[in-house]
């Protein structure tokens, strides 16, 4: 599948944004975060900026972005529509929370938890857009929503730890430990996912696609067209797939290895804020690479008609 830059950025940025929002709500309700206006507005502002930038970027992928509002109508059947509805509804408690902070009120636990709930549902819907597609075996997998959720939680905790460090070193240290646990979980899920897709084969074959299996093995003799068409450009994308093994190592190191090593340092003792910022930046970069691979490594059954493996 073609990794469109707009979608790679969207899922990574909105994942981190909703991750920050989730922890703001949950840890805020538990009283484990600084309660100053400055912290509240910066943390909430960063979360909102990240998922809003992501959502706007996803609209760049549309042929008719001006009609995007129509995507809110089919929530009964479409995960993409549900994502849009969930994303929009989540803005309600987010804006109320921001307003409350601005007016000098204390954030209520209920409002924070509503933000967290919205964040989880939105990220889950995003993951299900991919996980519900049967023709793409690398996406139609239970570990896909699991990883989207844990990746959002991890990148959110990383970013929130960096912000918190400016206000409350103890609270930041707690967040670093949380991020450490989530990162360890995240890389475990990702490794299990890579192993699962490497060891599975498509249920569909050139024989089942053409129905000619009763004659014997099916080979493409002549394609319908000489140039790449939309199907091959979009669903038959395979540039750099040969480097997948190398890129997986980079993604694992950048996304998890390096930030986790830095977090161990933070959890062990006094470490400058700059390290937490670097860890967050590194983690987000690794997540972008991981998301690019998520697309580039995915194969679609339509390539079976062109004599390729799915």
């Amino acid at each position: 599948m073609k990794p469109a830059g707009s979608i790679v950025f969207f899922t990574t940025a909105s994942g981190a944004g909703y991750g920050i929002l989730f922890w703001l709500g949950v840890l805020g309700a538990l009283g484990m975060l600084p309660e100053t206006i400055g912290f509240g507005l910066i943390a909430l502002g960063l979360a909102t900026a990240l998922f809003t930038a992501g959502l706007l970027s996803s609209m760049a992928h549309l042929g008719h972005p001006e009609r995007a509002w129509r995507a809110l109508s089919q929530w009964r059947s479409s995960w993409l529509s549900r994502e849009g509805v969930a994303a929009l509804l989540t803005y309600v408690p987010v804006l109320l929370l921001g307003l409350l902070w601005l007016l000098g009120g204390r954030p209520t636990a209920l409002l924070g938890l509503l933000c967290s709930l919205g964040a989880v549902i939105t990220v889950y819907c995003t993951a299900m857009i991919y996980a519900s597609l049967k023709p793409i075996r690398q996406w139609n997998h239970g570990l896909v929503p699991a990883f989207y959720l844990i990746a959002a939680g991890f990148s959110g905790a990383l970013c929130l730890a960096a912000v918190t460090a400016f206000f409350d070193v103890t609270a930041a240290g707690r967040l670093a430990v949380l991020a450490l646990a989530l990162g360890a979980g995240g890389i475990a899920v990702k490794l299990a996912y890579w192993q699962a897709i490497d060891n599975s084969v498509s249920a569909s074959t050139p024989e089942s696609a053409t129905g000619l299996g009763s004659i014997g093995k099916v080979r493409s003799f002549e394609a319908p067209h000489t140039e790449e068409n939309y199907l091959l450009k979009e669903m038959g994308f395979r540039i750099a797939r040969k480097h997948a093994a190398k890129l997986r190592v980079y993604a694992a190191l950048l996304g998890f290895g390096v930030p986790l090593a830095m977090l161990v340092g933070v959890a062990a003792g006094a470490v400058p804020v700059a390290v937490l910022i670097l860890a967050a930046a590194c983690g987000l970069l690794g997540m972008l690479l991981e998301r690019w691979l998520f697309f580039a490594e995915a194969t679609h059954t339509v390539v079976l008609f062109y004599g390729r493996q799915a």
């Binding site: 009964r76 249920a203 008609f305």
Partner: protein, 243 residues
């Protein structure tokens, strides 16, 4: 509405039967499809760089050619591929806007170009590559089963079939109602063992493919007439019996 329509009593289930035994791979169906639809319901079917390097364009019908099997038992099969108008069509249910829909009255799957946002999720959801994005229009395009021909009262009744069916020189394509057990398409499926593509996905395609017939078993060569000695009568008899 992109939920699938509830079954309507007496509704038709229109679709195609494609006979892989008689298809000669001439691509006339693909060309006539392009010709009709370039000015039909989903017009235009944009072509980019049509006369330069790297031409690119929207087609609803593509003809593949495959080799199946090995050695003497192998076959070369021409294989037209287009929208199968699935009963359980995920290209419809994934659509966030309701632009992609399945008609209750005849099962045809269509795209409303006025409400499509061009997110392309339907093309990802289709296992068969039936949908192609029109980069110029910014909307998804697909086979309409020539909805603007089959119900068109301005053309002679005999021509009210999809363009691909009307043009096929080998009569390898048949159009009809699969809900009518007496229709030609239903009969062909019954007689010739019409089958679904990728049945394992459970999309329940309406269109069916007829498998190539088994090749006639070649008769063992009769022994050649003997030459050389013997009377002319015996040689004549030998030649006659060798025929």
């Amino acid at each position: 509405m992109t939920t699938l329509p509830a079954p309507v009593p007496g509704a038709k289930k229109l679709g195609l039967v494609i006979d892989l035994d008689t298809c000669v791979g001439c691509h006339a169906c693909a060309v006539n499809c392009k010709e009709w639809n370039a000015s039909g319901h989903s017009a235009p079917l944009t072509d980019s760089n049509a006369y330069q390097a790297d031409p690119h364009g929207v087609w609803f019908n593509r003809v593949h050619t495959y080799e199946a099997g090995e050695g003497d038992a192998s076959r070369t099969v021409h294989f037209p591929r287009s929208c199968l108008h699935c009963e359980d069509a995920p290209c419809v249910t994934v659509c966030p806007t309701g632009a992609s829909y399945k008609r209750a009255e005849d099962g045809i799957v269509l795209v409303n170009a006025d409400t499509c946002i061009g997110c392309q999720l339907c093309a990802w959801a289709c296992a068969y590559g039936a949908r192609e994005f029109d980069v110029d229009d910014g909307v998804m395009k697909k086979c309409t089963l020539c909805i603007d021909r089959i119900y068109n009262e301005n053309i002679p009744e005999a021509e009210r079939v999809p363009a691909c069916v009307s043009t096929c020189p080998a009569s390898a394509r048949h159009f009809g109602d699969f809900n009518d057990p007496a229709s030609r398409v239903s009969q062909l499926v019954l007689e010739r063992g019409g089958y679904d593509l990728m049945p394992e996905l459970g999309y329940k395609p309406t269109n069916k493919y007829l498998p190539p017939r088994k090749p006639a078993v070649a008769k063992a060569a009769t022994p050649a007439a003997e030459t050389g000695g013997g009377s002319s009568l015996l040689r004549w008899l030998d030649r006659a019996l060798s025929r």
